[in-house]
Each structure stands twice: as structure tokens, then as C-alpha cells.
Symmetry: C2
């Protein structure tokens, strides 16, 4: 088939008619499908069900240090959890804090504490500045942006490629402006583009010379082990920061939300020992301890890093056919028309579709045919995608059959929007 | 025996010698005992062990609305948990948010959000004021005071009786000063005095006419069901606030920390529907959902309010002999000398000992004989007890045998400190 851009006006009009008819037929089905959020599917959740047997009324509930996990104590997490999830993050137990059940909540917390109380090496709490700014590689994760927007932190868009943020721009902004206090990074299978930061990107980030003494890289390594097709190597940012003489410049975050149970897993924070000590002091006002029984449950179930890796193999086996379905449908239905482009991710939870000037219209068409996508613009600060181009497709939650239907709607909408745009 | 105050100098000197010898003998035992924190004992934790069987790999993990508790969702908590813990707090499910595993963390959160984002009805976030003040009934809970101190909120001492705070003073300060933004209350078996707020105290609090439109009563009902000797009635503050035309003036907090597992229970927040809606909107930046599997575990184990009450009967049966031991030893060893006074609590986790001018010395003597108590001064903001009088004794964690030893040390120290003080 001819690509839309090569078609005459008449050919495009014929396409529009066909697509409108196809769309009307799909609309008539009264579908109710959701590809909006990166939620694991029920089959993935089954994988962790045996964890619920890891602690029962006959279990010894003491941790490796002999502490009773049923009682208060150990603000930074039980030793075996700090060890396992430290290893998972590539750091020592002393560089790890294991907290509640969501890394997002701890990221918000770190940002809120920075605002209210300040950061190691800083002169004053961030809320004492007239303005504080954060660099936001785009497209990015909407919930990161919501944290900044809620706390009144000004966001600056940084173009993101598959291999990392535009480092020339990052270096310039960070070295010039004392109120640029940090950058959000999803370094592996980045949300939503799917690529991973190159060695060069990680090294240049680690070697930044910020004007702000309390600059922090918020390194949300949410998908550290979450390959779908292939495990991508990623440099250890904390090691690189140490090597570059910036040991305190990075906060790393992770969780088992997409390894065990979303919202009922454990989350962790990794940073230099100095940052961990500083954070622990601040946390002391905020918590006595987090859920140590759940930490114990996780450690006893996974046992070690190999246990986590084996679990991730099982997740990948479930996710792969879903990603296949999305990618092959896109290839077949949209690849042939040139309506848009997409990145084939090696892992993570998303496929990003790009069609300048069409994103809002596609999301609207999908919605009106019963297929919910993340709002267009959600990939950008303030919900403003200046190119109206990016759509994040989340294939994990629907069943393969639902996914096939939803992608049929999506591709029809994508093609229709492209034709409409060309016809003006 | 004669009371110390009636003794001659010579008699007191003889007492001192005797007490010093007794103290030296105790010191020689090399004890290592802790009455510092309100931690449940291991026997109390056993009571909730069967809860760990409430969810296993064969369980249906859906909530009453059909939501899969293993996945993201339901930011405000699952319906059956909002119902049960709402009932526990005396409010509707719509007036309840069930959150993570610690009410202290949520109190900190509420305060941090008030500082950063503001409170319903407020003009601006509290951190935008030059100064924000909180009223602190004393003696009170050290961790409340730490939250204020950490966030830079100025604390004003309010004398607390067994029946509630000095309401004349509260009414005066609250109505005069727009920067007085709230008051901490532990209304039942108050930490550490042990008394409960009278109907009059609750009604006068509910009827406050604050100068600040965003004034909040932080109502930490930590011991709502935690009787030891007798369940004390307590008026429902939210109802009273509604009746007084102040429906949005109170935030209520509670948790199962001392019902199920400290740090691994569930915590809850109760307030007017308007406050819940306002809070939910702010929380949306901070969390996707809390641990719903743990909520489900709790609801399935306790079933209903009667289930919680039955559990509290079992806790009381374990705690009563411990409180008996503390109180009878005090009666026998200190009652006879008049070295100090204490309140016999009806419930809660503490016995407060009062001996003006002696608290620091007693804590030091105990420490040097191997018995750790909460620091003197911890009952007051900024760790400053102006009378150096209050000591919080926590009898729950040690075994009865340990408690007997620890109380022997305590009473010897208390008597010795009193005699030393009289001798000048």
C-alpha cells in the first residue's frame, strides 16, 4: 500500500471514508478496554501468590539480627532486605533503605523533605527559594511531573532520545543555574520510550558540575530487571558518581511493584552512605519503621538475586506475547500507511507511539470507541506536549484477546487521525 | 513509715545511706532492661499471628467491590477496610481513608502537606507564613513534638490535666492568633497521663472559634480501644465539630499498631467528607495506593468491631498484670515515702510518674543501673520539662519478672533522688 504522504487528495478522501466506516463498526461494538496504565495482568500477579505462604502463623518472624519483625524498630529496613535489594540496585546494604510499599511515595517524600528540610550540602530548604527548577526528560513519566507540579517546582523539558537525555542541554542548564536542583531519570526501558541510557549518558550525568551544591539526580530505576525481549546493560550511576567525585549527587529508587504485587510490594532507596545517614535522620521524625513482615515475606520468597531474576523471566514470558501483539499490529496496520512511528522497546511496560499533531485526536477517537489510553500530553510536564505527538500504550493489563481488539481500534484511530491531518 | 518531707535532716541522711547501698546492690546486678517505649510484648504479638493465615496462595484477593487487591488502585483504601476502621473511629466509610502501616507517618504527612500545599479553607500553605504555631498539651507524646520541631512549627505548652487541656488558655490563644494553626490531642488514655478528655473538654474543643480559618485539631486517638482496667467513654469529636458548625476542624488518626502488629498494621485517617476529598486530591500526587493485601488480611481476621473488641480484651488481660506490677510497686515503695506521685491509668500504654525537680536525676540513676527510660523532658516540646518532673514508664514490653526488677531500680532511684533533693 502507498503511504498516506504519497497519496493524492482524492486517494486520501477515499481512505477517510473507509476508515470512518471501519471506525463506526468498531464503535458499534461498545468496547470497554483500557491500555492506560502500566498495571501487571492477573496472570503476572499469580506468579507471586506463593509469597503469601512465606509467612504464616507458624513462622519465625525474627530477622537476621534477631529482631522481631512483628514489632517496632529498624527504621532503615531489616538487614536481609537491605542486602537483597541493595544487591538488586548494585549498592551495599549500608547504601540502601527499604521503606514502604511504593517507590513513588518515597520519591514524593524525598522531594517534600528537600522542599521542607533541605538536602545534604544545601544551604537551605528548597521552599526557601523563590523558584526551584527540575529538568524533565520528555517524553517521561506523568507521576514524576505531577510531584513537581504539586510542589510548585518549575519543570524544564529536556529532549530524550532512545539513548538518554540531551546531555549538552543538561550540562548547560545545570552548570549555569543554582536553582536547577535536579533531574528526573528513568534510565532503563525508560518510561515511556523504552530505550536505556547509554554509558556516555550515565557518565556525563555522573560528571555534572552543578551550580547548585544540593543538586540531585532522581534515578527512578523502576524497570531494572524488567526486560521483555532482552536485558539491556546499564552503568551503575552511584559508582560513576563516586568515580567522578560526586558521590552524593544521586538518589536511586526501585521497588518490587512489578516484581511481586503493585502497591503491596516493598520499595527501596539507594544512595551514598552520607545521603543515607542524612535521610535517616530526617525520616526519624516521620516514621518508626515500615512493614518489616512484608520485607521478610519478600526475602523468604525470593531468597536471592537469582530468585528475582527467575521471577522476571516468568514475567517476561507473559508480557512478550502482549508486546508482540501491539508491535505486530502497529507494523501491519500503521507501518504500511506511515501514519506514525514507534519505538520497539527491549523491556519495561510501554510502547510509545509518535505522530506529530495527532496525539489528542487519536486518544479522543479511541476513547469514543471505548478504548482508554493515557491522556495525550501526559508524557510531558504540565500535560503539554508541544508537538501533540506522544501516546503511551500500556499492553500489560488487558488479555491478549482484549489487546487485539484495542489495537484494532488504536490503529484505525491512528490512521484516521493521520488522514484527517493531511486533508487539513 | 514517715514521709520524706516530715523527716529531719538526720533521718534523711540515714535514708540516703540506705538507699545508696540498695542502689549499689542493684547496680552490681548488671541489669539490661528497657521501659522506654510503648512496645507490645511478644505475648501480645502472638495474639495476631493467625492473621498471617488470613491470606495465603489459595485466597481470593478481591475486595468487596471486586477490585484485585494484588494490583494498583483504590487510593483511599478498600471498601471493607474503610467501613470497619470508619466504624472503629465512629465515622462513615466516606469519612475514612485507610493508608499505610503507621498513623504517625500519616500525621507527619498531613502536617507536611499543610506546610507545603495548605489546608482546606486556608489562604496559603503554612510554610508561607513567617511563623506557624501549634498548641501542645503537656505532658504529651514526644513524636508529635518531633514532627513540629522538625518542620519548624513553634510549639506552645498547654497544661494538661487528667480531664483534658486547659481550655481557657486554648480558647484564648486560638481566638487571638491567626498563626496558631492547630493542637495535638491524645484524647483517650492520653499519652502519657492516662486520663481521657471529658465531655466538656471535647465540646469546648469542637466549639473553638479560631482566628485561623485553617486551624486543625490533630486528634490522635491511638488508644481508642486500648483499655487496661476500664473502657472510658469519649465523645465523638467529629460529631461534636459538626454540631458546633466546625465540621472541617478535626483530623482524626488511628491505627492497628497496638491491635495487630506495630509497624505492620494498617493506619487510618478520619475527617469530614470535605477534608477527605481535599486530602485525596493532594494524596494523588503522593501515592497510587497503599498495601491493600494487608488491609484485606486485617478485615478478614477481625471481621467486625466485635472481633477487634475481643482482641482488645485479650491484650488487656496480658497488660493488666504488668500495670498492676508497676502500680503496686510504686504504691508500696514510693507511696510510703511521698517521693513522687503518679496517675493510675484506665488504659493506654503508660504510667506517668511526677516528681518536680527529680526527673532527670531519676532517669540518670536508672540508666546507670541498666534500666532505660524515655529521656526526662521527652514529654514536653523541645525536650524541656520546665518542672523537671515527668517520667513516662512503659510497662508493656518487659516480662513480668523483668518488670519487677526494673521497678525495684526505678523506685530506689525515685526515692534516692527525692532524698537528695530534700538534702539540697
Amino acid at each position: 500500500m502507498k503511504q498516506y504522504q504519497e497519496m493524492t487528495r482524492e486517494e486520501l478522501q477515499a481512505q477517510r471514508e473507509q476508515l470512518e466506516q471501519a471506525y463506526a463498526r468498531l464503535q458499534a461494538k461498545g468496547l470497554k478496554l483500557n491500555m492506560a496504565r502500566g498495571k501487571p495482568g492477573a496472570d503476572q500477579l499469580e506468579l507471586s501468590l506463593p509469597m503469601l505462604d512465606a509467612l504464616n502463623s507458624g513462622s519465625d518472624c525474627h530477622d537476621a539480627s534477631g529482631l522481631d519483625c512483628r514489632n517496632y524498630g529498624e527504621l532503615l529496613g531489616i538487614p536481609e532486605a537491605r542486602k537483597l535489594f541493595g544487591e538488586y540496585m548494585g549498592v551495599t546494604p549500608e547504601e540502601t533503605i527499604v521503606v514502604g510499599s511504593a517507590s513513588l511515595t518515597f520519591m514524593y517524600d524525598c522531594m517534600a523533605r528537600a522542599m521542607l528540610l533541605g538536602v545534604l550540602g544545601g544551604e537551605k530548604p528548597w521552599c526557601r527559594y523563590d523558584k526551584v527548577k527540575f529538568l524533565c526528560p520528555v517524553p517521561g513519566y506523568d507521576r514524576h511531573f505531577t510531584i513537581c507540579e504539586t510542589l510548585g517546582i518549575e519543570m524544564i523539558n529536556i529532549p530524550l532520545t532512545e539513548w538518554g537525555p540531551d546531555m549538552d542541554l543538561v550540562e548547560k542548564l545545570v552548570s549555569e543555574d543554582e536553582t536547577v536542583k535536579g533531574i528526573w531519570c528513568v534510565p532503563k526501558y525508560t518510561n515511556p520510550l523504552g530505550g536505556s541510557y547509554s554509558d556516555e549518558a550515565v557518565r556525563r550525568l555522573a560528571a555534572l558540575k552543578p551550580a547548585a551544591k544540593d543538586f540531585r539526580i532522581f534515578w527512578d530505576n523502576a524497570y531494572a530487571a524488567h526486560y521483555v525481549y532482552e536485558d539491556t546493560p546499564l552503568l551503575n550511576i552511584l559508582e560513576e558518581c563516586k568515580a567522578a567525585g560526586n558521590p552524593d549527587m544521586v538518589y536511586m529508587f526501585g521497588s518490587t511493584s512489578k516484581i511481586s504485587f503493585p502497591g503491596a510490594g516493598v520499595a527501596f532507596f539507594a544512595a551514598s552512605k552520607a545521603n543515607v545517614d542524612f535521610t535517616a535522620k530526617q525520616l526519624d521524625a516521620q516514621a518508626i519503621s515500615w512493614d518489616k513482615l512484608n520485607m521478610l515475606r519478600h526475602v523468604r520468597f525470593f531468597k536471592d538475586l537469582d530468585g528475582i531474576r527467575a521471577q522476571m523471566d516468568r514475567h517476561a514470558a507473559i508480557l512478550r506475547p502482549k508486546f508482540d501483539a501491539v508491535l505486530s499490529t502497529l507494523e501491519r496496520e500503521v507501518g504500511s500507511t506511515g501514519a506514525g512511528a514507534w519505538v520497539k522497546p527491549k523491556g519495561g511496560y510501554f510502547v510509545t507511539y509518535m505522530a506529530p499533531g495527532c496525539a489528542k485526536r487519536i486518544v479522543q477517537l479511541c476513547k469514543e470507541a471505548g478504548v482508554v489510553l493515557t491522556d495525550a500530553g501526559a508524557t510531558h510536564p504540565y500535560h503539554k506536549d508541544p508537538e501533540d505527538s506522544y501516546i503511551r500504550i500500556a499492553p500489560s493489563f488487558p488479555s491478549p484477546a482484549e489487546l487485539a481488539q484495542a489495537m484494532e481500534v488504536f490503529c484505525t484511530a491512528a490512521n484516521l487521525a493521520a488522514v484527517e491531518k493531511l486533508l487539513g
